[in-house]
Amino acid sequence: MSFMPSFLISLAAVAVLFGIGYGGAAAGAGAVIGIYVPYAALLVFLGGLVWKVADWANSPVPFRIPTTSGQQKSLDWIRRDPIDSPFTKGEVVLRMALEVLFFRSLLKNTKTQLHHGKPAYATDLWLWLAAIIFHYSMLVVLLRHLRLFLAETPFFVTAIERADGFMQVGVPVFYATSIGILLGLLWLLSRRILNPLVRYISLPNDYFPLLLLLGIAGSGFCLRYIDKTDIVAVKELTVGLASFSPAADAIANINPLFFGHLFLVAILFAYFPFSKLMHLAGVFLSPTRNLANNSRAERHINPWNPKVKMHTYDEYEDDFRDLMKEVGLPVEKE
């Protein structure tokens, strides 16, 4: 599918979904969108994620195939690379931690350009930067939302809010991650659209989650800074959800925009296990990263190691015995 239909389908899907949430609440179905849908979405999310990861886990890793990007362990006096060629479990954990927390492989990214037919390679960190800004903003935004789910806000959430609002501008205080998440997403979306190669490989599966997240972050931004709502009523609803005693009477006091926001979040949760967003869990399981480069020191077991037809030495000697004897090669049977 080419760019336009892919993009427009995704955009339309997000717009319609937002409309369902917003319009549904405005038309009096706030309880459905505010209570039933979130529970259903959470169930699908957790169930789907567990099912998907279990499905991955059910397939064994027959061979130990780490991508070695650094010096192996061989002779003691050769300085080895414990991160890019991990030998011990601890080193693997370190490699994985750097991968998960800092997107280390992306940090190696280069850009290839041709100069008169000669390729030249330059470090290219824009993708890494956009990814880091988006993912960490997202994490902070998620953690900040805990204040709406826990009746007594935990100290660390308050601390995060303080740090995030370090600029101390605006009322309510403006959070760096409010703009960070939007900028990161817009950046990722625009490179997807503007870079001809990335546009060429992009599917609706790529535009939809980006636009969905943009819809969520955008509506959240509006709710906090522009078209505000009764946050205490929202918290009554969300705390009620979290404590399994939904506060349906709070719904009437809440801006329908909130339900547009909430519905998109529910869709994101429900969509998550069936999409590329599963890279969240998958990154931990990648056999090229999470295995030690110690294949020659410790035997890796393949549970389905197949029985195959071999060509044994005896069969070989039967084929060539006379020729071997002619040139004086030793044989087993004369």
């Binding site: 826990l150 935990p154 009764d230 979290a242 399994f244 709070a250």
Partner: protein, 130 residues
């Protein structure tokens, strides 16, 4: 290679983390604030005030301190003095910070900096003044 145990453990950790909102508040059930509203009418509608009072106060501060304006004309045309303590918190309205402001702010984890400068009427020593 059998790593199902590790994967299972990872899943458990993930589920525990994701459901934190559901178990994190089990032992600390603070009820939603039950705010006593004074009799009479506020300068704007309840809904508007609930969502936007912080912006109104923010604008008031700028108007009063920086532009010298002293009067706010509400949407129904009535005029009100621009003053936190003399309008909003005057006696008979929201004169009790602890019972009115703090209840929601604490619940929603909001930490406004009004009180860096202002002193709430209910927290002033009787003979003080500001």
């Amino acid at each position: 290679m059998s790593d199902k145990g590790k994967i299972f453990l990872g899943l458990i950790v993930f589920i525990v983390a994701v459901t934190y909102p559901m178990w994190g508040g089990v032992f600390a059930k603070t009820p939603a604030p039950d705010v006593q509203l004074p009799d009479g009418k506020c300068i704007e509608s309840r809904d508007y005030m609930v969502a936007n009072h912080m912006n109104m106060l923010d604008e008031w501060r700028d108007k009063f301190v920086r532009e010298g304006e002293e009067i706010y004309i509400a949407s129904d045309g009535t005029e009100h003095a621009i003053s936190l303590t003399k309008t909003c918190m005057k006696s008979g309205c929201h004169d009790n910070k602890t019972e009115f402001c703090d209840k929601c702010h604490t619940y929603a984890d909001v930490d406004p900096y009004c009180w860096d400068c202002h002193v709430a009427p209910d927290q002033v020593a009787p003979k003080g003044g500001n």
